[in-house]
Structures are given as C-alpha cells and as structure tokens.
Symmetry: D2
Subunit: 408 residues, 4 copies
C-alpha cells in the first residue's frame, strides 16, 4: 500500500488495482494537465492538476464504497473508474475539449480505447477487469455509474473542495464527509438518506457560487476563448492534427502554439497576460435565439464578418456563446418520508438558482483593448443584438458579480 | 497597544478606547457568556464566548473604518460600540434573553444605563465619548449604526465565520475580507460596491444554511427551551429576581438553577444531557394562526392544559413556538449600474431562501422520551393542530434537514 | 452509531461501549471542565473542554487500534479507557489538581472507584468489562496502557493539535495522521516504525514550543496560582471539603469561590482580570536547591513571611515553584535498523530541548502591581535568592519568549 | 489598486511600482516556473509557482515596511525587490540553477541586467528607481537587503508557510504574523524584538523539519538529479545553449528535453515516474573528504567510471553529492536584555539542529532499479566509500526519516 500526502484529504492510501494504475504513463500524464486551465490567470494559486484531483476522487470513492458496503470485483471496478475518470482529458482539460472533439469526430467513446490499450489495458487485464465496464462507469452508466458521474458523484465533491482550497475562494466548502456518509442505494438509485435536503442544497449552492466566481469568471472565459482560438489556428495551419493534440499535456500544447507562426501572437498574449477585453457582454434576453443555437462554423463566420466590418485582423475578434444554462443537481435524489424525491421538487432553491444562472448568462465578444469600441459596434450589427445601453452589461445591471482580479 | 491572538482572525491589535474598555469588569464578564448557549449540546466544540466574538467584531470594525476612511471621534465611537455591542447580554446570550426582558420590562434601553455607569462610563468619559451616542450605534441607529447592527454589519460577518469555525460546520464560510473591502457609503446608506451581488448572496446563503444546521437545530431548540423553562421556574419560585439574573454569567445561572429545588430537575437533565424529545414537530400550515401569535402567558396556559390532559408533571411539557420567519438580509443594498438596489429586488435567491425558511418553520412540543406519545396526543387537542400523519414531521416531509447528533 | 461533529477531527463515529459511556453524567460533566483552565486569560479562544478532548482521544485510539489490528475485548477496554481517561479530573483540570490530591490524600487511585461506581460501573458491567483493568490502562500500565498514557499516547496527539487549534498558536501542528499510522508493537513496546525519527522529533518539538508559549505562559501561571490559592483559602475556611471540590465542575467552583468571603477577593480579581504581577521571576541557577525541593507547607510559610516583611495582606503574595524540568518524550522508541531505540539516544534534539527547558525554568513570586517592589525585595531575603540584576529575569536574559498578550 | 486572491494570505493588494511590474512578461513568466520543481513527484499537490510566491513575498514585505515605518523611495525599492527577487530563476527553479550557472559562467550578476533591460527596466525607470540598487537588495546587500534576503527575510517566511500549505506537510507552520510584527532595526541590523527567542527558534525548527521531509526528500533529490542530468545531456548535445535555457519556462525545457534524442530517455522516465533508485546512500562519515569537495567534472568522471565498471549505459549512473551542511539561521539576531544577540549564541537548539543536519547528510548514487546492486558495488570501489553494512543507510541507521511516498 502506498500512502500519499494530499493537501485536501491529508493521507490517501492507494492499494490494489488503483496502485497499479497509478504507475501507468497515462495517469502520470495527468500531473501535467492543470485542473482549471486558464483560471490561474484569475486566481494565481489555482495550479492544481488532474492528477491530484484523480487521487481525491479515488479517495472519496473508497469512502463511499465503505459506506455502501460494496466489495469485491464491483468495488475494484469503481475504484479503477474513479482513478481513471479524467484519463481521456486533453491538454488544459475542458478548455479545448470541444474543439478536439469536433476535429476528431470522437467524443467520449475513445475512453473505451484508452482503457483497453497500452499499460492501462495490461493492468486491467492483470486484475481481471473488463475495460468496457469501467468505461461505462466513467460515462455514468448503470447503477454504480452514478457514483462516478452523476448528481451525487464523488468527482464533484472533490473538485468543489479542491478548487476552493486552491483558488482561496471559500464558496466551495461543502461537507463532503457528511455527503459521502449519507449515500444510499434505493431501488437502484443513488440517494441521500433522510434528513439531508439541506446537505443536498449545500452542494447546489456551492456550485452556484463557484460558477460565476471561478469557473465562468469573465477573465477565465476570455483567456479560455483565446487559448481555444489559438489551438484552432494551429489546427487550421495543419501544424498538428487533433488526435495528436488530444494526447498532449499542457507543456506540449503551449510550446506547439508558440512554435507555429499562426498561433504565436495569441499564445504570447496569454503568456504575458495581455488579454483581450470584453467588447460586448450581452444578456440572454438581448441575444437572438438563432445566435445562441448557432453552429461553431456559423460563429466563426460571424467573427470574420465582425473583423471585416471593424477592419481588424481576424484573430482579434472572438465570439463566445455559452450554452443555455442547465442545472444537473436539480435531479439529485433525497429520501423524504421514506420516498425518493428529486431535489428540484423538494427545494425552492433549485428554481431560484436556475433563475440566477439564467440571469448571469452572457454572450461575450472579445478583442484587444484598443479596438473594443469598433469591434463592439460591428458585433451589434452582425449579431443583431438588441442592446440599448452600454455594450458590457455589468455596468448596466450589476448581475455580473465576481471579483475582477487583474482585469482592466 | 495590545496584540491578542484569536483563533479566527489571528492577531488582533487593540488600542485607544477599545483597550481601556477591554479591562472593564463588564467586558471581562463576556468571557463567561457562551456565544451559542446550548448549541454545545449538539456541537461539542462550540464553547466560544461573547468575549472573543466582541474582539472579532472590533477587529472587523477597524478594517471597515480603514476601508471607509472614517477617523477621529466618529471612529472611536464605532470601535467602542463594536467592542461593547454584546455587553448587555444576559447569561447564555439569546437563550433566556426574552424571558429576562419580559420580567424586567426593559429591552434594549438598559444599554444606555450600562454604558453610562460603572467603569465603562468612566472609560468613555475619559475618552470624551458620549454613552448615549454609542448606545445608539449599538442599536443600529443613524448612518454609522448600520456598521454595528444592520444588514451588512460586522457583527454578522464575525459570528458566521466564528460559529462555523467552532462547530466544525463549513456553511458559514463567507469571504469577510472581501465584504469589508467592498463597503461603501452612498447617500448615507451602507452598500456593497458594484459587482458584489453574489458576495451579498453568499452572506444570505451562509445564514440560510447555518440556521437549521446550527442555530435552530432541533436539539439546540429543545435544550434552549428547557433552560428557559428552568430559569422561569427559578423566577416563579422567587429565588432570584430577573434584574439579578440579567447581570449573572453562565456559571452563576447554572449554579442558581441547581440550588433551587424547583428548577433543579430540569437543569440536572441538561447537565446529564437527558433531554426532552419532540412529541410534536408541526409545520406552519398545520398550526392555527392564533397559536403562532399567542402571548407567552397563553402558551404557558396551553402547557399546563396539555400536562393535565396527559397526566404528567407541569414541567414535563414545553411548547416552543418560534416567530414567523423573516429575512433581514433581503434589504441588503448593492450598487448596481450606479444605483443603490435592495438585494431582495435584485436576486431571485432572496425569495427562495424565504420560502425555505418558511418550509423549515416548526412548532415544537417537548417532553421526556417515555411520555412523548401521551403528550403529543394531548397537545394535538389542546392546540387544535391539523396533522394527520405522524406528529413529528421530519418523518413526514424530510424538510428538516440537520445532522441529528446525539439525538434519539 | 452516533456521529459527532468535531472542530478538529471533523466527524467522529461513536459506537458500542463508548457510546454508552458518552451518556453517563460523569462524562457529560467534562463538558463543563475547561481543557486549559486559566490559559483562556492569555488566549481568549481557548475555551475548549475535556469533553471534546475525550472524544478526540477516543477517535485517535480507534484509528490506532485499526492500525495495530487490535480487536475484541482488548479493543473495547482501550476505547473505554481513552474515553474515560480524564473522567477523574477536578474543576479547571490541572489547575487545582495537586491541591485536591494533597487534601484528600488520594491521587490516581480513585480512578478505580470512579469506574466501578455509578452509571459508568453499570455500563462497564453491561459490556463485560472489568473496571480495574480499564483503570490500569488509564494509568498507563501494561503493554496497551502505553497507547492511553505513555510517550506515544493518543492523549498527547489530540491535545497538541486541539490546543493549537483553539489558542491560534501554530506550534502544535504535528502530523497525527502519520504518527498513528506508524505505530507498531515490538516485543511488547509501542514504537514508531522505521523512518520516523523525525516524526518523533516533531512531537517533541511541538511540546517544547507549546510549553512556554501556552502551557507555562507567565500570565497563565500567575492566574493558575491565583486560582489555586483562592481554592486553598476556601478549603482553609472549611466552606467546602476537598472531596466535594474534586467532583465539582468549573461552574460550581467559581461560584463557591465567590460565595465564600475569604476567597472572594482573589476570584474577583480573576473575574475582572486584575491579575497579580511578577515581583520575582528567577532562573533555576539563582534559586537555592532547598527552595526548589521545599514542601507545600514550607512554601506557604515563606509566603506568610514575605507578606509580613513587605507588610501586605497574606493573600497578596504567591510563591510559585515549578518542578524540576523533565522530558518524557526522550524515551519515545523508534525502530532504527530493525532495533528499537530510544529517541534520546538517537536524536541530538532531545538534549537541546532539555537544555532549553532548563533555561526557561522560573521561580515566580506574584503580588498586586502596586506592591511588587516591596514584595520582590522581601522575597529575595526570605527565599535567599542570588539575583543581582532586575528581579524579573526576562529583561535580564530574554529567554522568556512568549507573546505577552494582555500583560502589563 | 489590484486585489488578488491568494490561497495563503487571502487578499493581496498590489499598488504602485509593484502593480506595474506585475504586468511585465518577465514576472508573468514566473507563473510557469514551479516553486518546488520535482518535489511534486513526492507531494502531488505541490504545484505552486514562483509567481504566487513572489506575490506573497511582496505582501509580507509591505507588512514589514508598515511595521518598520519605512516609506517613500526606500519602500518602493524594497517592494520592487521583493516582487522581483525570483525573476532571474531558470526553469524548475533551483533544480537546474547550478548547471546553468556553470555553463554561462554567470551567477547572480545577471540580475542587474535583467532589471535594467526590457519592460522591467522601463517600469523602474518610469518610477525613478535605479535597477542597480534593487539588484543589491535582491542580493541581500545593505541594511535593507536583510529584509529581502537574510536570516529574517520575508522570502523564507512566505515559502515555509506556502510549501507547507501545498505539500500538506504541517511542519512549516510558523507564526509569520508575529515574526513580521516583531521586526526591528537596531544599529543597522534587522533583529527580532525582546521576548522572541522562541519565535526565532520556531523559524529554525520549521526549516529543520521541512528540509528532509520536503526539500531534500530522497525521491525529490533523485528526480532533481535526473532532471539536471537530462539537461546537461541536452547541453552536451549542443541542442540548446545555457543562455537560452536560463530564460525558458518549465514548459519549454520539458519539451526541449523530449525533442532531443540524447535527453529523451531520462525525461521520459521523469514523465512516467519510472525513477532511478538509490544504489548507495552514504553518511558523511563514510565518505572521503575528497569526494565531498570534488568538482563537478570530477563527479562526472566518477559516474563514467562507475558505469564502465558496472557495465551499464552512462546515463544510468548519477552521483549526487550535496554540499556540507550549513545553517544560515544561526546568525538570526534577537534583542535580549537590550542587546542584540545571535540566536546561535542564545539557543541550544541551533547546535542540535546543526548536528541533526549533519547526521542527515547523504551522498547518493542512483540507477535504474534492476541495476542498483551492480552500480552500488561499483560505486563503492570507485568512490572509496567505507561502508560495511547495507549500501542504503536508512536501513542501517534510521536517521533518514521522511514519508517515502511512492518509493520502491
């Protein structure tokens, strides 16, 4: 048994198949994939990695298995899945994920391949574990998949606490000890035991406060959009293909972006923190539905049109349209009066937080600071936005509420 | 200058009038008044006192004054008020406060007297400070009173963090550093600067989660009701008068309760943690409005009738009717688009949390464990409750959601 | 199983005999015995109790049993002993312990009686546990007694971390998770596994830094001496007997001290924090050996002589002679090269810390501030001290090194 | 003014010249230089960077300036120096520092150049600050240089606390708030005020415990030696010159090492954590003085001879000879009895910790696991070591005492 010191969970004991997986190159690579990507440009302490997060998820999974009395091969599968759940991540985690998927045409299905091949495949084979079943758990399929990827999964419990610890933002402090202790299976569904509506709410609230403060902080969104655009430029230049990027670590992607003339200007801006600024920051009600639903190609075309109209280089305009807000936790199940109920039914907070999320939704158009006026006006026309106040709506309604570290 | 080590704020530097106040008997007495009273029967680490809380409030007040650029005599008044804001507390803080007030007929007006007399009066006089103006600040009056007692006061910022630290419950972790830094005065109103809707929400959420988990935890409510009843018994026995109790510390009240034959049985139950149990735990919709609005005397009469009907001794029945829920923070003001707006107007969370609070409201009837059935049935009749399921409604609707440490 | 939230160890699960013991009046009484007594007059946050400490010791004992693979009746005995190890403490723990023992003539032997009688006796009997064997464990006897009271006991691991947490002083932060994990039994001796010399040293260092900063802080020593003297006055006045005091809680002792005319002046000084000051603070080399070895009665006689000569009331002079320094941890055993070695043999730190402890030793003579000169000079003569600089030796050699919160 | 959230010091306010420096590429580069290099292969959470450390040092410098009453241009120089003190670091900080210096022939003198040129030069010029004077402060020269680089510098205070926070090892927890508050200048020397011998000792102890547990952990030493050797291979292959490497960030160096065929095998071992093991781990008394004093070239020759004799490839043998132990803190000055005294004179701990450090000194010879026996025996002969027990001396004497995470 190895014992590893973790800054969040203190000592983590690693044993069995998990220990063998730990020594594979695919897992060691996660040491070089940052957990929060460009968020460190907002919160400079947020340099933690997918590796320590994977250890944390494994640790909480072990506690949950203990609590639920799951043993044997089923337990091995779940601990393996918890350790491996992020092994398919590309460099900078979620920052360029959709881009890679669009170019490779593959989404999560390559997890199967990753788990079957190479050293991971060998380790699983040696421990009599079927890669396909573990890939299913990672995808959240089946009764036990809920533990690895679902409303009450240990992934979320770890990242909320870990991201709060490393950013210094106190909002993610959930009582994970209690949540794990209260997990139950009822008729094949993972639920919280009676008396835990509030514990479930706290998980919801933690996400709702961490979202705009950390994950969707405007500066994090801008720098993420710049990184994604730089990577797209690299792909367009045929310098590297998407399959190769998918298997890079953060180090390789950054250096590749610097070595390619087309992507160099943007990545140098990121290196030096000379970030684009918001030219437009529009509320959902001011944005035509067609824009929100537009394909990636359409958005790229809009960017080119805006750049043309504003007479600036193409990579000086980035249009960033987030998806319509959703709230997975609303389906969290809690035992109430002996019945399993959905939290969205039980708690008035769910609707309120959904409304808050809707109110915080913003379409962003970004450009270098000295071109923002021109780009903003051009974007209004091209995108058909219906804004009659200032183009950056914090000023207008104040609902954008995060600490603008380093900004403007 | 004295420097005092605090487990929450680390070093607290105390100077000027605050330092002189620190050495008065009235302030030193707060070392022997627990911050959370009977909550330590639920969370055994919650043994912190009003003294350390007063130091913490003083510390945050100093930071706020710095931030707001308030100096001179006005600053001295505010630091004195922050240090003194709890000096009028009776033993066990809020646990027997209303009882003492009912018997003495005096409410907060005696703060004036406390600040004018004795060593505190002398200290204030020596520093050319008017006790009446400081008493006004403690009462939250005037522009600067908002800092000491209002929606954004430093009192709340300290107690949320301190109570979380000492109970071990993580929900009170607000970002007090940011809140203090963002305080502004706009047209005589204390507001949070632009971009802080969410910081304001986090304060609201912290209270909403701490309330049922800590402050109104069912076992804390039961033991508080037992302590209050024991104290009332002591008063009824004419053993001590209310004025005397008001100036006791926790130590004296506990010993007085043990020394009086009438109150001894109840306080011994508290000593040994043989607590009453819930015979009824009714939702607000099942309780006649008349009961909710009933005077203290009426409630006492109900208790006697229930005891009669159930054929148990009078002090075996306690009826505990909390006030209708309110939510002070909904009037917190935040700068939005250059205007001052109330949070209740700006945030969908306010209504949701108010609804949650309403749903968590419970009328309690408590009795020794072996009499709870009889007492419960008698209470139904006497109080005219409209319950058709089990009498203790957690079982029924699960909205009561705290960790029942030690209970049943 | 009960789960209790602790501010140090988070969730503590209590089960079996430990749970039954928890509900006894003797254990609940520990909620009203402060862990550090008058130390809270130096560190205002240090209001934690023997109850939460007992829970913490129980928790670490369970982890150690797990680690050592001890089960069954032996494990029950050890968990019971860990829960009960402080049950014999008088009010204010160690502050008046020696005084009570001197008056009752009984030392630790009454633990046997405490565990055999009353509800504790019943609980142990119901769980087929022999009180005598548990009392032996509490006394540190036998192989397993080392776990409860020895160089590597879980008592020390809990109190160092807990006292650091509650005072805010960072020096007690040992890695108790690792220490517990590394415990081994070798030939009937409790040792740390190979590679842990430094872990053992950290335990030693933590004590060495906490001692002068917290446990023997000069102001804590002064107020402890005042409390002890007040209690002795109470006994001399025949107001209460020592047996009764031994079973009081903090609340009762404080009120008893206030109610007795003889002890009232001193306890009022403690209440209002008008503490005596150091009239003499002498190094060990300047104190005749006879004084250091003097009996309690001799010291009392010295106090009276000093008071006579200085012409002040008898209770204005307190002579406080600590025992010669010792260092229990020097016998901590660690596996080195497959042999069990004593830390004192292995580590140069042990001798250094022993020397530091010797250098920090001070005899104190305390009196009200305005009489300290007269009392100091009188004490020099009566005690035959050989001091030629100032009488309070910090000024002289600076080795007294703690943060003098609140002092002079 | 910018306010930045830090996971150690919470909010850090950055203003004036420090703010302007923050936006220079040279400072932003520190975001991509890890604070502890290969230590993250032992403690996976230790991914913090020189950038956040620089912010922390700046923050403590501001507090120290406040405390010492230093203002104006002198204060600007010191804050600039604190922000810039690590700007000359090469990739992986200290891991490859000596190697770069040996190849460039330049040591700290290039700090002058770095501060005079580029954007930093412009910023300093704009704020009327002389780069040469700031470089002197960074080098610890002059009265105020002690604050930036000396026994009581804010650099050490930040890194001890920060490294403890991020590794999860509790030993670095010093009371930096108190240390900064107690700084004084006496006759041009930076000292701690009276009553702080113990505070000074705690700084010493923190380093003494962090050293073997973190900074010189055997696995950190092995991986650092592998990284250094890989970099040397890269230089020997003339793939990149030392000047270029000195200005790389971690990302570029890792990719460069992978792209060069000669260094690739070693860096792949680091990537996959297939680390060399200790073939020899010898105490100082068993090593001929000539080996300890040997030049780098001589050591390289030894490595080749050992590889020859053991018949393994040259890069399979690494000889790692640390410098003779020293203890800078022994000259820390504290006010004692009105005089400035050196801690080494005042405290018995200094000698003890020096002895411990001496006892922990180890010469290491590393090789792949399956070749360690052969390499170990060959190394004995070539280096003339006088060992008659096992070659890896932990087993022999247990003084090697850290938590061997991940090892063998």
């Amino acid at each position: 048994m190895k014992v590893i010191k973790d800054s969040v969970h203190d000592h983590i004991a690693v044993d069995g198949v998990a220990r063998a997986l730990l020594d594979t190159p695919a897992l060691q690579r996660l040491r070089r994939i940052s957990q929060l990507g460009t968020v460190s440009l907002v919160y400079p302490s947020a340099n933690h990695t997918r590796f320590e997060h994977s250890l944390g998820v494994y640790h909480l999974a072990c506690e949950a298995l203990d609590q639920l009395g799951i043993e044997g091969v089923q337990a091995d599968r779940i601990t393996a899945a918890s350790m491996l759940h992020d092994v398919g991540h590309g460099p900078f985690s979620h920052n360029v994920e959709d881009l890679i998927q669009r170019h490779t045409g593959r989404y999560h299905d390559d997890v199967h391949a990753l788990l079957s091949d190479g050293e991971i495949g060998t380790v699983l084979h040696d421990h009599d574990l079927d890669p396909a079943r573990i890939a299913d758990l990672v995808a959240g399929d089946g009764e036990f998949g809920q533990l690895v990827s679902g409303e009450l999964d240990v992934d979320r419990m770890d990242y909320l606490v870990r991201d709060a610890h490393h950013t210094g933002v106190p909002y993610g402090t959930i009582d994970h000890g209690r949540l794990v202790r209260e997990l139950r299976f009822v008729d094949g569904e993972l639920v919280l035991g009676a008396g835990n509506v509030q514990a479930a709410e706290s998980l919801l609230v933690a996400r709702a406060l961490m979202n705009p403060t950390v994950y969707s902080h405007s500066v994090a969104r801008i720098s993420k959009a710049m990184l994604r655009r730089a990577t797209e430029t690299l792909l367009d230049a045929d310098a590297v293909d998407a399959e190769t990027i998918a298997r890079m670590d953060d180090y390789e992607l950054v250096v590749a972006l610097r070595q390619c003339a087309a992507s160099r200007p943007l990545v140098r801006r990121l290196d030096d923190r000379r970030l684009h600024k918001r030219a437009v920051w529009a509320e959902i009600d001011d944005v035509p539905g067609g824009i929100i639903e537009a394909t990636h190609e359409t958005v790229r075309r809009f960017e080119r049109e805006i750049a043309d109209r504003a007479d600036v280089p193409a990579d000086h305009v980035i249009v960033d349209v987030p998806e319509r807000p959703s709230m997975a936790e609303s389906t969290t199940r809690v035992l109430v009066n002996g019945e399993v109920r959905r939290l969205g039914y039980q708690s008035p907070l769910v609707d309120a937080l959904r409304a808050a999320q809707y109110a915080q939704w913003r379409l962003g158009v970004y450009s270098p600071a000295d071109e923002r006026d021109r780009v903003g006006r051009a974007a209004l026309d091209v995108l058909g936005l219906d804004i009659d106040g200032p183009l950056v709506s914090d000023v207008r309604d104040g609902l954008y509420t995060t600490l603008d570290q380093f900004t403007e």
